[in-house]
């Protein structure tokens, strides 16, 4: 086996696209340096501040150059780089191969670009943390794994990244592991993802059995010829694959880990649990678009789960008081939109929303990070132990944090789908796609209804978040107000860049009604060619389209106004003095008691089964008792029997000896 890490050995196409494998290598080097610093020189924060963001920004530069080469006229649609041969066993020939194509180039830019900005933000946010170097080591490692996930040319290589980002997610959720709740949140995320990973593994085995290869391009090429539309095998593969996506992208029923993941530092929530890792499921579906197109049953399941999650999570977001929890449920809800898109066959819309969501959700999370930063400092300065994340303790922060306020409003308008902000175009496309599918499968009209209702609720809870945080009267406290301040430029700078992207990001795929041909649509065409050859769903146009757009905009505006006025209409009581809510409000505040239900239905029975059956019966009684101690007892018994012969009487020994000799003699003489 050759173990040559030489890009020069890659295929010709890979060379013309430049050394894009550096995108993976640079953050990995950053991880090694920061990791060593964390172990041996944790106080060298200046060096960490250069290496950590530097590695990712350098990767961004490489990504931009690779992207420019890819979009140059006459450039190939994809390029492979084989780093080394990984597995050679019988028919299985697996290379550690990275592939840059048009789809992965989009994700590459988002992950390195948004990731780089979030790294910069972290320099300010984590400045005073003792685990500064460790934090950047994990963050760099995460980016490296995320890029392996994006660039992996085959399912197993993608799976390395898939598991790697899961590991980094675990490490960063439990970053402040000295608080038990944080460590538990990390474990919860890790364990729930295992369920999904099981599905992905099964999908891989099935795909190997059917196709004899795990390379994405080879599968996309063979699938339409080998499998008829709706073949049970392709349905099975895609369903198991989608189970993996449900875990990773926090969809019903495996979404509960994502809100808990907010236990990690806020920039981590922005990078991993909003912009990049959790969208890996959407990416995987888009990457395997041919298989999902061949399996309409699975697509309906995908769209259904997506629509249901979008609505369900949005309603929970209505009554959360922790600013990050609102955003967490909002993320779950928006991921539901993306799955609704890819489930409706609108893969471009899904990827488009993935990109715009990365922009505006990063702004919202980083903005909330700035707010929490300021709140935390204020309470720290006055030595009061209040919840710095509870919106009931905020209010009127616009006075002290005008930049954060303005940028978060941009993102809020974007997520609510107000025209010409980024989210307007992408969300609109998803709603249109779902509506269009309704003409050949009625159930999609229901999904459209769910998504439209979720859009209304999204606007309401975002307006509520903004109103409770930035508007009205301040509830932080008289003494604390003196300590509230805008975040330093290293935090507001990246926020501003992302704010601009949230405002204009929709430009990458302008819809036809603006007289444009969407750039992303054309860009991703080669990736989706095989799917389009099988089936191409027409998007609504003309009056239907105008109606849909108008309805979506009306929903957004009504939601924002409603949410804003309702929130500021009544007095908000600070968290300390607030009475427990009742009725539906309590149901929503307690997240429909889903965690409690899971606890009662799954966790406790498993614990009971483990304790009573597995521990007491299987381990203690069967393994320890019967197998280990039992076999010892048995041999002890034999030994006791043998020891009865050891009388110490030489006479008896001699008698036995002679008897034995006579017996042997008789045996030899053949008697």
């Amino acid at each position: 086996m050759t173990l040559s890490l030489l890009a020069a050995e890659g295929s010709g196409a890979g060379n013309t696209l430049g050394p894009f494998w550096l995108c993976v290598a640079l953050p990995l080097v950053g991880f090694v340096i920061n990791g060593l610093l964390a172990l041996y020189r944790p106080q060298a924060k200046a060096l960490v501040s250069i290496v950590g963001p530097g590695a990712v920004l350098a990767a961004f530069a490489v990504a931009v150059s690779a992207f420019l080469r890819l979009q140059a006229p006459g450039a190939p649609h994809q390029g492979d780089v084989t780093l080394w041969h990984w597995l050679l066993a019988g028919d299985l020939h697996l290379d550690m191969a990275l592939r840059l194509d048009r789809l992965s180039s989009v994700l590459l830019l988002v992950v390195t670009g948004v990731g780089g900005l979030i790294h910069l933000f972290s320099v300010g946010y984590m400045k005073e943390d003792a685990g500064y170097a460790r934090y950047f080591a994990y963050l760099n490692l995460f980016v490296a794994f995320m890029l392996v996930l994006i660039l992996g040319a085959s399912m197993p290589v993608l799976f390395i990244g898939w598991e790697g980002v899961g590991l980094c997610s675990y490490l960063l959720i439990g970053f402040w592991f000295d608080v038990e709740a944080n460590a538990n949140a990390g474990k919860k995320a890790f364990l729930m993802n295992r369920i999904g990973d099981f599905g992905f593994l099964v999908a891989m085995f099935l795909a190997w059995q059917v196709f004899g290869t795990l390379d994405f391009a080879a599968i996309a090429e063979q699938a339409p010829q080998r499998l008829p539309m709706g073949d049970p095998r392709v349905v099975a593969i895609t369903l198991f694959m989608f189970l993996g996506c449900i875990g990773k992208s926090a969809q019903i029923p495996l979404y509960t880990w994502l809100p808990d993941a907010m236990a990690g530092p806020t920039p981590v929530s922005a990078l991993i649990h909003a912009a990049t890792m959790v969208t890996a499921g959407v990416y995987l579906v888009a990457r395997s678009n041919v298989l999902f197109t061949l399996a309409p049953a699975t697509s309906t399941v995908v769209a259904g789960i997506g629509a249901l999650t979008a609505l369900f999570a949005a309603t929970i977001g209505l009554r959360q008081n922790d600013i990050k929890k609102v955003l967490a449920y909002s993320t779950v809800s928006q991921l539901g939109y993306m799955f609704l898109a890819v489930g409706s066959g609108a893969f471009v819309a899904g990827v488009f929303h993935l990109v715009t969501h990365a922009f505006f959700k990063a702004v919202l999370f980083l903005g909330s990070g700035s707010v929490i930063h300021a709140m935390h400092h204020a309470y720290h300065a006055t030595h009061r132990h209040e919840d710095a994340q509870d919106m009931r303790n905020m209010g009127g922060l616009r006075r002290w944090m005008p930049w954060t306020w303005a940028l978060m409003w941009i993102a809020t308008l974007a997520i609510a789908g107000i025209p010409f902000f980024a989210g307007f175009f992408s969300k609109d496309e998803i709603l249109a796609a779902a509506f269009a599918r309704g003409s050949d499968a009625r159930i999609y009209f229901v999904f459209y209804g769910f998504a439209a209702a979720a859009a209304l609720i999204t606007a309401i809870y975002m307006a509520r978040l903004m109103a409770m945080t930035f508007h009205g009267t301040n509830r932080t406290g008289e003494a604390e107000q003196a300590h509230l301040h805008e975040a330093p430029w290293i935090m507001t700078g990246p926020l501003a860049v992302l704010g601009v992207l949230s405002a204009v990001g929709g430009a990458i795929n302008l819809p036809a009604f603006l007289g444009q041909h969407g750039w992303l649509e054309g860009w991703l065409d080669p990736v989706l060619e095989a799917s389009h050859a099988i089936e191409r769903h027409a998007m609504p146009h003309g009056s239907t389209e105008w109606m849909l757009v108008g309805f979506a905009v009306a929903i957004g505006v009504v939601g924002l106004v409603l949410g804003f006025r309702r929130t500021l209409g009544g007095a908000i009581v600070p968290a300390r003095d607030a009475a427990a809510s009742t009725g539906v409000a309590r149901l929503l505040e307690q997240r429909y008691f889903v965690d409690e239900i899971y606890d009662a239905v799954i966790v406790r029975p498993i614990q009971w089964f483990s304790r009573v059956v597995l521990w007491k019966v299987v381990d203690q009684a069967l393994v320890d008792g019967l197998a280990v101690r039992g076999s010892a007892r048995l041999l002890e018994g034999f030994g006791w029997l043998g020891s009865r012969l050891q009388t110490g009487q030489v006479g008896l020994y001699l008698l036995l000896f002679v008897a034995g000799a006579v017996w042997v003699l008789g045996f030899m003489l053949g008697v």
């Binding site: 009865r644 050891q646 110490g648 001699l654 002679v658």
Partner: protein, 102 residues
């Protein structure tokens, strides 16, 4: 080949002596007597070897010398053990020698 004279009676004597030795070992309880019975068995075997040597050549004689050597060594070690046992127990009755029981 002609059977040498006295082969049959020699082997019969050897068998009788050996049997006496075995019975002595089994039935007597005095360690010295036991010891002498073992010697008797060895010598019975020697007699058989000598008798067969007439038939098969001189290798039987050679083995007899080995047996005698071993018997001498055994006597030396065995008698020393007897002495030690007697000093310890004031008896050579086998029934008193039962320290090593399970």
């Amino acid at each position: 080949m002609e059977t040498p004279a006295l082969l049959g009676p020699s082997l019969a004597l050897s068998g009788i002596l050996f049997s006496i030795g075995v019975l002595g070992v089994l039935l007597r309880r005095n360690a010295i007597i036991l010891f002498m019975c073992i010697e008797l068995m060895l010598n019975a075997v020697n007699l058989a070897f000598i008798a067969f040597a007439r038939l098969h050549g001189s290798s039987g004689h050679v083995i007899v010398f080995f047996v005698m050597t071993v018997a001498a060594a055994e006597a030396a070690v065995g008698l020393a053990i007897m002495l030690a046992l007697f000093r310890h127990n004031q008896s050579l009755d086998l029934q008193d020698i039962n320290l090593l029981h399970g």
